[in-house]
Point group: C2
Chain length 327, copies 2
């Protein structure tokens, strides 16, 4: 659970704040629902991180999406949460809501892709449940191990912390635009971006950040929105240097040609990169880690003692900073 | 995961056997998907039991069912699994799939009932996820603690074990018959049985059975079917003394009047009682426990070295021993 509170509509954040928070009994394991996940308190040094994500046909993916794409999305979105908490994957529980249209081919492709990802990221299926639903509804609960006992949460950033982001932002959004035929390009470019949308990869750097990052969150619902969630409880702000935002040159070209707007791209979901903050003294360590792990990590700004997101000095005023369901 | 394998149809058991089992990598924590739940292997003496259950509108409950009934069903079905594994509840993750029709009143009633059950059974909400779905789809992952390190599984029964069952069987099924207007009775009787169907209670005796039971399963999909699951892997059978089956006198009357069939009642779901087997030497301990905890526990049969369920000596031949989805 991890949404910001907006009392005007019956939004996810409102439901969590008003109806679900009372159920956490203020237990420390829950982070008061302010984090990417929670943990099971087994012993002082052995904590199991727990994350949960659900994807629904026609909402989070298209009905004609391939079974291997759906498999990758449910796994990736959860692994991304596990990583953002500084953990390595251990195992997961799968709740499969399947409609009657599901056939053996679908199940074969779906499960084979999961097995492939299990081998890549080293985890296994612990158990689960099958139910009959009208639309495909897949919920996964992931478990991660924190080796050094330190879970990274999203609410421990400090003033003057550097703000870092892994990978490149917006590729998935551009893929979605192509998929919806809202953008045009040659076949190969189009195909490549749609692939980035359909087969996202999590950035599993999190377990390396335990002694480096003060706070972290995975960017899954939009850069601005997820950054704002990281700032929210501390009542901090962020000064962002826009030209440093990591964006592929092909995407930059689309922005330059005004085919897509940068602020829309930075409010769109499915990036699955890790946003973290750390002391400026850690810069060398982070740059070394980036080289060693061959993962792009870019400093994009600084935590400031003034509420809001400031892009090149100007306060950002966006109504929709990230994706959220409203009921 | 816990279904028997039937290769003729695309059933839950077929999906588990053919597509999902390969994903457990034969890890011992998973019980090869042959148990009510699994466990997280933290250390030798500290195991966390994990169960998972999903309920779907129009399949597991009616669209006009009250929010507090739905809340009680998702909690009860999971607590029942936790109990059957010999654990006490610790916390749970909730994945809420909600349609647009959901309003504040529904959410208030739903969450208030959960809070009430949390207080009764001592657990809290760890985290979760909200998604938009067409029909209400609620998935919960429950965590239980095993205090003495011994998890009870369903596949360790022994020849000549006594077979015991808690509570009374069939009340929920009779309630469902009334709800569907397939049975008639006076208003009060009808109301009482429908209540048993809508507000089932788990039997939380499991954590007391660690040193008593050789095997256990919760009866949630039907007595015969769940008993068969307990026998299946060992290739054992059960000799059942039909007159000892605990059934309320009001229900016995309905059977006597041929309003309902005993074999249908014993193949119907939602009993949420605990079926366990133990050495005949434990009879006194079990009877004392029953008195002390004020929980009815009845010996209904014996484990035999011959595959099948034998009711009063005759081999049972039922096509549908329990509830299962087919796709």
């Amino acid at each position: 659970m991890k949404k910001k509170y907006n009392k005007k509509v019956l939004s996810e954040s409102y439901i969590i704040e008003k109806y679900l928070k009372k159920l956490n009994l203020k237990k420390k394991e829950t982070y008061n629902f302010d984090n990417d996940g929670a943990y099971l308190n087994i012993s002082q040094n052995k904590k199991i991180v727990v994350s949960n994500d659900t994807i629904v046909e026609k909402v989070d993916f298209f009905s004609n999406d391939r079974a291997d794409s759906i498999a990758q999305k449910i796994i990736c979105s959860n692994l991304s949460d596990i990583s953002s908490m500084g953990a390595v994957p251990y195992c997961f529980n799968l709740s499969l809501g399947l409609p009657k249209k599901i056939n053996k081919k679908w199940l074969y492709i779906f499960s084979t892709k999961i097995l492939k990802l299990q081998k890549k990221y080293n985890f296994f299926l612990l158990g689960g449940d099958i139910a009959q639903t009208r639309n495909i509804t897949i919920s996964a609960t992931f478990f991660g191990k924190v080796t050094n006992g330190k879970i990274i949460d999203r609410n421990s950033s400090k003033i003057k912390d550097d703000i870092w982001i892994t990978g490149n932002l917006g590729n998935s959004f551009v893929g979605l635009m192509f998929k919806k035929n809202l953008l045009k390009a040659n076949k190969i470019i189009k195909k490549n971006f749609i692939k980035k949308y359909q087969f996202p990869f999590p950035c599993m750097i999190g377990s390396q950040l335990g002694s480096i990052a003060n706070s972290a969150i995975d960017v899954s619902d939009g850069f601005y929105g997820d950054l704002d969630k990281l700032l929210f409880r501390k009542n901090f702000g962020a000064s962002i240097d826009m030209k440093s935002i990591p964006i592929l040159s092909k995407v930059k070209k689309l922005i330059f040609l005004q085919k897509i707007k940068i602020n829309k791209l930075l409010s769109a979901g499915d990036d699955y990169e890790i946003l973290f903050t750390s002391s400026p003294q850690k810069r060398n360590i982070i740059n070394s880690l980036s080289k060693k792990k061959k993962i792009k990590i870019t400093k994009v700004g600084t935590i400031v003692n003034k509420r809001g997101i400031y892009t090149d000095g100007k306060k950002l005023n966006l109504s929709k900073k990230s994706f959220q369901y409203n009921f």
